[in-house]
Point group: D2
């Protein structure tokens, strides 16, 4: 079961599809193994980058089953839904299948502090004993959650064990949450998103690792590891080597297509297919990725990372 | 099967719940009969006011089955979903169960004209032979669809047979669409929403009726009927008699709670329960409704409507 | 100087233009006299419906000067601006010219409770001794202000003397604010907007009157007066007589064009010109207004209101 | 006068303030000289990053006067305003004072293609002979402008001579616009924003340079220059050396405070003051900037850039 001590890299997994749009189960298996081999300490499926909204309820449950069966690390399942009935159905099924916890983003119509707090009170009630991750991603949800509101939810809901931190800018939020736990608030796990674009500063502020889906998960694993072993310079060197690609993959909407393309190039998934509506990569974009990857390889060799 | 000739009043049905939150199937049956007895020429279920987002996929299909089995008028099913897979699953199940058509609101992230047109091209492709209603409700979807874009969709997608008109202000849009069909564009059915607040002007502009959920559906039936029989003054008298209540029910978010309260008061549904998150009526509000209903009754008696 | 005891009807004044787009100063004078003759106890200029954003800084000050010179009732000036420097410049000029107070809507990028509170702290600091009205209009500002946040601002900022109440739905907010002042919070004036669509219920909940721009300000004056004299039935009769027109004018964006058209028809302003970008009324709309006005006259004669 | 041939780096200038919030005129002069010394081929003032919305109308004109008097390169003035009257007033004053052109972002309430096109038709009409830059920055304006809409504006408005490109993702838009001009559409200048985060790919797609405010404008000048001289590898090396800082400054809202801090550290402006509301840098952030700057210096020395 997921708890407040979770750390390292929870890879946000894509959902691999065949060219006809069906789930590509063989690629699912390969992908699970890949993420773990690259250093993932956990997996997150059915997140926004997992095209969760494009699956049917049946497909979602089937994916949870397949991933949990294959994974040797904890699996977190995104269960955000327009209503609590669907959220409860998927969360219950997921926990029954062996998921370690679930993740919930706020409903995009929430605005005031009280509305957000009430929403997570209801979420915690609906989820029962299942540990949950609060996903804080204003760029997409359009819901801005203040540090005080997060702390209130942490105080009121013991099953809230992790923050998926994806506010932008969000570094001060990490500092404030850690200062609060230094002063007696419950300390929950903070894993950071945004494709890893601020990973180093996030670690320095007190994050426990990353929960994001950059197509080179080994970057996050190595940066977190170097940082935790006290070698900040090494962490920076590795981070900088990958940064041009991190930046390129950070393009909203397009990023998932780039990520799937890279995973396909790396042999992890068989096809870079996205379900509609989804971006389709043009040749120019593929060439730009290729150029970035070539320079990245050179830098990594110079660093003797591989 | 729903087609371009649809007219009259398609009642937007609520989804009745028991106090424990389960669907209240007996109230569903009673509600279907009520709407038809009050003059509905069609029913629309699983719309926004049907709390569609709060049902599980299984519940949605079960509701379609129950309503279609009971109804003697065409049933339209709201199938808007975050992705096309879930849309297709519910649409296919609904049409198989005997629904007359489906309704699709645009995904709220659509912005440019081309994005909206592409979305409905994909929708039509996904839905196959099922006739569909284009729901144009910018206040909630945050997507503004121009008249030209609607006409493009009507031209490109023969299965688009109806516009659920709910832009605000939207009267000019009706006039423009009717002018276009006078000039050769395919004429589709236009049924209007917004709780009936502009019903009379909408009819005068060329709408074919209403598709909305005001708790007194007989108002819409009588206004449409009076207008169609040429008695515009009678139509206005009836409309004005109900207007204070129409206006009161038009409060966003709160409106559904008021509507369910009224339907419960009228004996149509057993409970005014909303699933969370939903507004709860305070006593002050209930008294305001009661006062409005009493004055409404007086005015209707003066008009000898009942 | 505006204070917490303000009540009655503060008419939201339009800004009259000549057909060439220049300010029509003669119509400004006539309009001021008209609003007061119709029962206005105050005037509000340079609000959203005053096309404030379409004036230059110089024109805004000139308008304040002209209106204040002519008015025998307190004048409130809308000073909302993208930044505090422009807000301060207009507020200072207005108070120097004899305005009774100013009105400030929240900047549309505010989201959390703390951000809104900080914004009004800064506003109060910038405005100095000038009494101000907090404008709460989420439909346009996209900022949702909870009752608790309003109370916090009222507590922290003694110069906040009035709420322009325009949340929708917003009746519960009035009840909650009045319950709070019954329990010791400072009681500020609450004047309501939304074109008067909920005026009666707003009075019943504890509002002190209206601050809105319906083209028949006498409706608001008579409803408030009847209510305050204890004759609720009379208040409802008058309200209902005007309601079809209130509703028609309530169309967002289009409403101002309808309002100016009616004021021009009534001889108050010489031209119904809006500065660009602004709606232009088509003939069909003008006929609909004419029909509504004719029926309104009949109902008023039956009530012997005039 | 600005025209379609503009290229290189138009630096988005900050507005320097004294600690008391007044404009710091001496720093203005020094800043103008700095940007030009660092390779700027133009200056853009009163943009969003110039805190334009926080100045009074008088201050805006005074700033234009001071910068134009000092600058030896063309000056573009941001004249976006809630209404056309204020836009016209500032544009006329700026051109009279010797500005090379003006820049206009779309009003944030625009949604459909036709609304955006009409807005720029009106803009062009209001601006008369003044050449203008179309600012395409959806992340902030919330207005998504399709390539077709840009081309329509370019076709209809001969005074539209430049696109400030800041869509994200936006690389395909550059390619599409250049493909269109290869096929006969008028070719306008494209200068790119987003703090330079995608500058190299933007040049490869056909952009003419950058218009952005990264605190090391020499990076943009050198990258554009290296690229234009055919040395793409050199361009990438320089870009990558600065990228960790580009990324850090790209934090929305916070970015301007970081930029002003760096400019103050570099001795360009005397104070890093922002007018309220604005971010204030904490010590942790300043240390993070310092670390990034130190590593940046090392990389630049290795490249022998300085």
């Amino acid at each position: 079961m997921l708890d407040e001590t979770a750390e390292g890299v929870f890879a946000i997994a894509v959902t691999p599809f065949l060219p006809n749009g069906a789930i590509d189960w063989e690629s699912v298996d390969r992908m699970v193994e890949f993420y773990i081999a690259m250093g993932a300490t956990g997996l997150t499926i059915l997140g926004m980058m997992g095209e969760a909204g494009k699956l049917t309820a049946e497909e979602s449950v089937a994916l949870v089953k397949r991933v949990v069966a294959r994974s040797t690390v904890p699996v977190v399942v995104g269960v955000s839904a327009p209503g609590f009935a669907a959220m409860k159905a998927l969360a219950t099924a997921s926990m029954d299948l062996g998921a370690a916890g679930v993740m919930v983003a706020p409903s995009s119509n929430l605005r005031t502090d009280a509305q957000i707090i009430t929403y997570y009170h209801s979420t915690a009630e609906v989820l029962g004993a299942a540990p949950f991750v609060l996903q804080d991603f204003p760029l997409v949800t359009n819901v801005v959650i203040s540090t005080d509101v997060i702390l209130k939810i942490v105080t009121d809901c013991p099953t809230c064990v992790m923050l998926k931190h994806e506010d932008w800018p969000g570094l001060e939020k990490i500092s404030a949450l850690r200062a609060a736990s230094d002063n007696g608030a419950r300390r929950i796990s903070i894993l950071c998103g945004n494709g890893g674009l601020y990973l180093l500063e996030e670690m320095l502020r007190g994050a426990d690792g990353a929960m994001t889906g950059f197509a080179y998960p080994e970057m996050m694993a190595q940066v977190v590891s170097a940082y935790q072993s006290g070698d900040e310079t090494r962490a920076r060197d590795i981070f900088d080597a990958y940064l041009p690609m991190v930046r390129y993959e950070a393009q909203p909407g397009l990023g998932l297509a780039i990520r799937k393309h890279t995973l396909a190039q790396r042999g992890v998934i068989a096809h870079d297919t996205l379900r509609k509506p989804g971006a389709v990569l043009r040749e120019t974009t593929k060439r730009e990725v290729q150029l970035l990857a070539a320079r990245q390889d050179e830098r990594l060799q110079a660093l003797e990372v591989r």
